[in-house]
Amino acid sequence: MGKTFGERTRAGPPGERARSTVTGPGAPPGAGPDPVLEAVEVTRTYRLEGVSVEALRGVSLAVRPGDFLAIVGPSGSGKSTLMHLLGGLDRPTSGTLRVGGADVSRMGRDDLARIRNRTVGFVFQAFQLLARTSAVDNVALPLVYRGTRRSERRERAVAALAAVGMGHRLRHTPNQLSGGEQQRVAIARALVGEPQVILADEPTGNLDTQRGAEVIDLLGRLRSERGMAVVVVTHDTGIAGRASRQVHVRDGVVEYVVDGP
């Protein structure tokens, strides 16, 4: 599943931008499950102090359930921007973007918040856990904004922590946990709402090689166990190689795609 549209397009000599549809929206119906994330010619332009910055200049891709996708590129390539868009943290300037089947390009803020709460789960490079808050409470946070009852929140948080191997550290606060442990708590938090896709922005950036590998393994395992899609944004080609498909971006467009193992 998910590899139907692997295609390699040529990267031309420097200066030539390959504007490509890697996995096209024009996929024949019935060719696989509906994409969890679907971008068509998505652009994002920021206005900063009077200057326009084109962070994304036309990206199309699709992520299906169970995909393990790496978005690779150097700093400034637009990969983080792409992830933010895919997760509903931001809206595209133009183009079509469907998250969980819903068109987010015209969505209001509250609806986007709902997407972030239910359809996607984020993992950040800097972990972004709430300080002075226990692991359980950290993991349960998305459920708070869903209106879940306290007891059920706790139940599900504990289960999520167990799934990432942190069941023995429920009460610990972030300053009592190592980097790798904190990231695992963050992954549990991303899981707890049972999203369709996990979006991880440089999840191993603040970890040493071994911990980083463990985190990627964990993500891969969770993906097979639960059928979620996982999208990892990284500049590390080694990490990228562990995904089943790599999308290489540069200067706001997709340069090429590599179908992995």
């Binding site: 933010h84 997760g87 943290l89 931001d90 803020r109 509250d110 918040a113 709902r114 972030r116 709460n117 239910r118 984020f122 950040f124 972004q128 709430l130 002075r132 946070l141 998305p142 708070v144 904004y145 869903r146 209106g147 879940t148 009852r149 306290r150 938090r189 709402g193």
Partner: protein, 396 residues
Amino acid sequence: MRLAEAWRVALTALRTNRLRSALTMLGVVIGVSAVVLLVAIGTGAKVEVENQVQGLGSNLLLVVPGELSFGSAPTSSRLTLSDVDAVGRLVGNREVVAATVTSGEVIRTGNREVFATVQGTTETLPNVFSRPLARGEYLRRSDVDTRRRVAVLGASSAGRLFGDREPIGRQVSIAGVRFRVVGVLARTGTSAFGGADPDLTAYIPITAAQRLLGTQRVDGLAVKAPDLAGINALGARIVAALQQRYPGEKFSAVTQEQILGVVGRILGLLTFVLAAIASISLLVGGVGITNIMLVSVRERTREIGLRKAVGARQRDILVQFLIEAVLLTTVGGLVGIGLGVAGAALIDRFSPVPAAVVWWSPLLAFGVSAGVGVFFGVAPARRAGRLDPVAALRTE
């Protein structure tokens, strides 16, 4: 559900930085306690004066020279005892008309002396003003007719001059003239606003007082009306009669209700001004709230970004921070109310200044403090809600 969570988050946030929360609250605490205390003092003064005026007696008409208006200076009296008789005839009963002439004099006995308020009165005084006796008897008509040198002492005068000894039958010297004590009044109990002891008095026949002071004048003329219904009409008739006797002069008949009305307005205004001044500190406290909330929002920008990333809506963030501000002000308000009420109780008990806490003033103060929290907290809360999650997450 989210509301309960927001309360919990707010409490945690405030508890995390206890010192900062306490200092921020201080402005509201001071403001609220000042308002509660000053309103209590204003109210206490009003209640005090009301009690005194009502304690004079009931259905009273006080006849004063001049036109009684707000802030007018008292005119000196030209009334004499013959005017008192005339009023008595007009009312139809001379027993309910009392006249006084007042002076401050030294009263001596043996080796003790006091400086007291000496009132020359008609024998009818107890009919008009409530003046219960502790022992002996009051002045008689014959005393007034014959200018007899007898005196009734107020409770404090008797106490200071005679201690535990029996004053009745003994001699005192008032302004150098000897009088025999025939009665002692009971303690009146109300402490006068201003500190003067209302029981440091002596009552002598008005005629004897006039001779003592070398005057024919009557300072005060009071009538006890038969009922409240006709009191204003009676007052008008008395004034008309006096103005007839003294053409060109003005007189006024004042009821307790009128006095209370004027006093009520003056003290009500005073209370309001005091409260308004105290509210300024509440305003300053509110500004402090805004300031700290803005700092708090900036400090927690990343946290806000994260909350939005996991699904918090703009509204959720706004409510969270607004609750924090309201929590600060309402807790501060409660502490302020406690301090204000305690302060009022202390002042009332241990100082000559009266203070009475009305039931609505703590409620109002609480409501205002909650309002201050909302008013001064909404701007920072809005700012928190509007933060862009992407930028917020990137913040240091």
